[in-house]
């Protein structure tokens, strides 16, 4: 140790990186891992930074409250919704870990976990949505992102940066849909306007 020269070759081949799938908008990939069995647990994560309070009385700015929601479709009909007002789907397969009203905390501030093996057989698609409850646009929110993670392998399946994404208050993020026996992911990333998922239902239903 110590004596060996440590000037590195810049073109040193990098080590292997974990297999991930970076989704371009509209691209579709199968979530069945080769030889690894199908996808069972998927988590939607949504993160952003809280408004920094300034001055003695704090900032007059309103807290930023982004919300993650999942709309459940059976064919073209809404069968169920998981959002801050209903944290668990009726069948129990989709669970929201709770509403974060300010963005305080690191990493994912809101999560929705989907157990695909428990989703009722008649459900054909799950559409993941982000909305800004207090109406601030994504341009006004620091470090906002949303992502889909395979909870079994922790591989990130899709990720969108919301900050700087324009003067929108909502985004239809992605959909998981049945294709034969397996679930597939379709990235959508379509900006929208809406403080809750209800406001965005027409845009959401277009992806059912």
């Amino acid at each position: 140790m110590g004596a060996a020269p440590v000037h590195a070759a810049a073109d040193q081949p990098r080590g292997k990186k974990a297999v991930t799938v970076s989704l371009q908008k509209g691209q579709r990939i199968s979530l069945s891992k080769p030889g690894g069995g199908g996808l069972t647990l998927v988590r939607m994560g949504l993160g952003w930074d809280a408004v920094k309070k300034k001055g003695f009385f704090g900032s007059r700015e309103q807290d930023i409250d982004l919300d993650a929601s999942v709309v459940v479709f059976a064919d073209q009909q809404v069968a169920d919704v998981v959002y801050f007002g209903q944290l668990t789907s009726r069948d129990g397969s989709i669970r929201h870990t709770g509403d974060n009203l300010t963005g305080a905390g690191d990493g994912d501030d809101e999560s929705i976990i989907v157990d695909l093996s428990r989703v009722p057989v008649h459900v054909t698609a799950l559409v993941f949505v982000v909305s800004s409850f207090q109406g601030q646009t994504f341009n006004q929110v620091e470090n906002a992102f949303c992502r889909l993670v395979d909870e079994t392998t922790q591989a990130e399946l899709a990720r969108y940066t919301l900050t700087g994404g324009g003067a929108h208050t909502g985004m239809v993020m992605a959909r998981l849909y049945r294709h034969g026996q397996e679930w597939k992911l379709g990235a959508i990333g379509e900006p929208s306007q809406g403080r809750t998922f209800q406001d965005m239902l027409p845009a959401i239903a277009a992806h059912a």
Binding site: R90, P120, E156
Partner: protein, 513 residues
């Protein structure tokens, strides 16, 4: 050797330094070449197990060798990170330590973190210095890297998330989840089985309904045939699998649970002994779903219960009386002798509780408040109980004040309709305020119907309403319809003291001497 404290810095003597570490569990070292903003210029500035070499830095499992003179000019600092190889946090190991030249830095106080920026080697004019950083990251190496501008594809292992979020508030709520690592208490298991069964059934019904709509489309030729049948088959298969699994979970407990949560007909009652501490709960009966076959799910109420229990009148008034005595028996069986006394209030004296007054004197006086309170005594008994509740509400010293009254007072109000007519406000207050203060109340609807009574409605809303015959109730998760078959003492509806209840009362009295 000199020990650095968090935030301290010291000059480095050599331009080639080696950073090593000690930790009780396997850790990985990483180095980040960063600019003044403490962010990497590109992903190539990360040196770790998957990329062991960069300009000026060489990685090995044991050490980082850093040639400070060979670092690119725009690298302002090298951050040395340490991350645990498995998911357990630093809280589980003694403080990890890093060493560089004669400096050591022991990072005390780490808790949930699984990665930490240990050191910063930084330029200071033309020399290099080392700073003890010790900044932990609960999000692990991935979070640490992301924070310094590395684009991470794989967020790395995380501690497993809890499988369930807190359930929506439901009456009656299963409280106090089991401590991690212990096997689930039967009460929790029974409630989870009911929730799972309710959700599975709801899912099945949803699928079936959708399948019928699809079939309509198929019949009219608007959709190709086959999918409706497929949906029906698949949903039934799912339901059958789920119910078999739930039945298995319940069966694993059968025969090994205490009497208070076992059917009266079960073997547990043959060997009942007064418990030393309060049992888990009391079995109310078994639940069956309409239309489909499910396991018979035990409905168990925790003891002591924090909300009033209301027993609806059955087909005949005796149904609710029999249910009440059955619950009293279970309650007494679940609580250690000396910890509980029974107050029976029967304003009209028509509910067949008179046999209580025939119990031996010591049993009657110490366990039953002197006997059944009827007529004017009913009001007096309510007043005494309310005094107790008020004392408990303002102080925890009620035992001294009341001369050693057993801490739990189980109150049974027969013919609650008549009682409400006579003592409405007092009874309402006792029903609402008593249960949280160890004065659980069971309201029994017998002769006098309470159909239109607002007060009755208020008590029902505050508590748990149970049917006394084979009546229906809704599950608290999806509002599905279930039939509750109460588990009853075999002789509770007869005109004589129920044998098992008398036995439990006598046993309590005997233990108390």
């Amino acid at each position: 050797m000199t020990a650095l404290v968090r935030g301290a810095n010291a000059p480095l003597r050599a331009t080639r330094v080696t950073v090593t570490h000690t930790c009780a569990r396997p850790v990985d070292l990483s180095a980040l070449l960063v600019g003044r903003d403490l962010r990497v210029r590109s992903d190539d500035d990360l040196v770790f197990y998957n990329a062991p070499v960069a300009s000026g830095v060489r990685w090995s499992q044991e050490a980082l060798e850093i040639d400070l003179a060979a670092l690119p000019g725009d690298v302002h600092a090298v951050l040395v990170a340490m991350s645990l190889a498995d998911a357990a946090p630093f809280a589980t190991v003694p403080p990890p330590t890093v060493l560089v030249e004669e400096h050591t830095f022991a990072m005390a106080g780490l808790a949930e973190e699984t990665a930490v920026v240990a050191l910063e080697l930084y330029r200071r004019q033309d020399a290099w210095k080392v700073r003890a950083v010790g900044q932990g990251y609960a999000g692990g190496l991935a979070a640490l890297l992301v924070d310094h501008g590395v684009e991470v594809d794989d967020p790395g292992p995380r501690p497993p998330r809890p499988p369930r979020v807190a359930p929506d508030p439901v009456p009656p709520p299963p409280s106090e989840p089991a401590a991690p690592g212990t096997s689930l208490p039967y009460v929790d298991r029974a409630w989870m089985v009911w929730e799972d069964a309710s959700r599975s059934l709801d899912s099945y019904r949803g699928s079936l309904e959708h399948a019928l709509a699809v079939r309509d489309e198929e019949v009219t030729g608007r959709a190709p045939r086959g999918r409706a049948q497929q949906l029906m088959d698949a949903s039934l298969e799912r339901l059958t699998t789920d119910m078999a699994q739930l039945a298995g979970e319940l069966a694993a407990h059968e025969g090994v649970v205490g009497a208070e949560v076992a059917p009266f007909a079960g073997p547990s009652w043959l060997t009942w002994q007064p418990p030393e501490k309060v049992g888990q709960g009391m079995l109310l009966g078994h639940l069956d779903a309409d239309e489909v076959s499910t396991p018979r799910i035990p409905l168990i109420l925790r003891v002591p219960f924090g909300r009033p229990v209301w027993l609806n009148r059955g087909v005949v008034p005796r149904d609710s009386v029999a249910f009440a005595w059955s619950l009293v028996t279970r309650f007494l069986a679940a609580v250690p002798p000396g910890a509980v006394a029974l107050d029976v209030i029967d304003p009209t004296g028509l509910s067949g509780a008179g046999w209580i007054n025939g119990l031996p004197r010591p049993v009657l006086d110490f366990l039953c408040g002197g006997g059944v309170a009827s007529g004017p005594q009913a009001g007096q008994r309510l007043d005494r109980l309310l005094d107790l509740v008020d004392l408990r509400a303002i102080s925890g010293e009620e035992d001294q004040l009341l001369g050693g009254t057993p801490p739990v007072r189980l109150v049974v109000v027969f013919d609650v309709g008549a009682a409400l007519d006579e003592y409405g406000d007092r009874l309402m207050r006792l029903a609402k305020e008593g249960p949280p203060l160890a004065v659980p109340v069971i309201c029994v609807e017998t002769e006098t119907p309470t159909g239109e009574s607002v007060r009755a409605m208020r008590i029902k809303m505050a508590g748990n309403t149970l049917p006394s015959d084979e009546g229906t109730l809704s599950d608290p998760w999806v509002g599905g319809t279930w039939t509750l078959t109460p588990d009853l003492l075999p002789d509770a509806a007869l005109d004589r003291p129920p044998a098992l209840l008398t036995h439990v009362l006598n046993t309590h009295a005997k233990v108390l001497g």
